[in-house]
Amino acid sequence: MDNKLRKHGIIRKAIQAIFGILTNGYFKGFLTGTIYQGPLKRFCVPGMNCYSCPGALGACPIGAMQSVFDGRRRRFAFYVVGYLAAIGLLVGRFICGWLCLFGLIQELLYKIPTPKFKVPERLDKILRYFKYVLLILFVFALPFFYRSSFGAGDPFFCKYICPVGTLEGGIPLVLLNSGMRAAAGALFRWKFAILIICILASIFIYRPFCKYMCPLGAFYGLFQKISLLRLSINEDACINCGACQNICKMNVDPVKNPNSAECIRCGECVKACPKAALTFSKNK
């Protein structure tokens, strides 16, 4: 069983890494401190991936959504919301577990051998709602309604919170570009502090950004119960041994709630079940 799980973990991480490299394949950008400006930037990648990362070949869906909502125009983002809803309806949070580069980075940090910390259940439950607050307030409402005295809007989540942008875009560009280094001030330090907190938390808590802060995970999670790809449990085969619940690092109980909004569909519970009672299936 251990070997099966280890192999599954390696395959999943390899897929996450390959997808991360493919979507950040503009290596020239890392040498010159510039970003890719080709036609692929018209399209969004399915996971959190800053479009200002020097290697990024596609657009970040959360950033793209805010740029369309922009308080100057106040347009609904049909293109990005439709795209994300279609993915959510097809596979739910499968993207989080299999294709997100920032998710992989957090998982690798969690591998550092230190004592691990389990957030108390009540606090964990409250904190999980925080990502929905960020989604509604910082991704939808503020970028849509706010208009500065100059008439410009602001991508609030990207500007004040997103640690992915700081890690993938901010740090490489500030290091490679002296002009940007000179411009980095209080806002950069604030975002850098959020990134450091996320990195430190990831060493002790499994995927803290995904659990408590990710607006994209929150959005995909809305579709978990109705997505075509879903987790099914064969209640006749289940012996209630608790193996699935024990293996789940997202703290989901797959027997009680196989399609919880918190499940990232990594499939570890499926592999851990000794009776093969859990399976991925199509929505019926």
Partner: protein, 60 residues
């Protein structure tokens, strides 16, 4: 009363035809995506994504 009615409708209409409703929602999502694309959103996304986003990197 209203919540009972909503629950009833949800159970009767949605839960019994889950897959059908999901497929309909996927079609609506794709139509929304195409509509957004045709009304110039792709250009807005491209303009934002092809220039360094100063907000994203924390300097603007």
């Amino acid at each position: 009363m209203i919540s009972t009615l909503i629950n009833h409708c949800f159970n009767e209409v949605f839960m019994k035809n889950k897959r059908f409703v999901t497929v309909i929602l996927i079609v609506i999502s794709i139509v929304s995506c195409v509509y957004g694309g045709l009304t110039g959103e792709i250009r807005t996304v491209y303009q934002k994504a092809s220039n360094i986003c100063t907000e994203c990197i924390g300097i603007g």
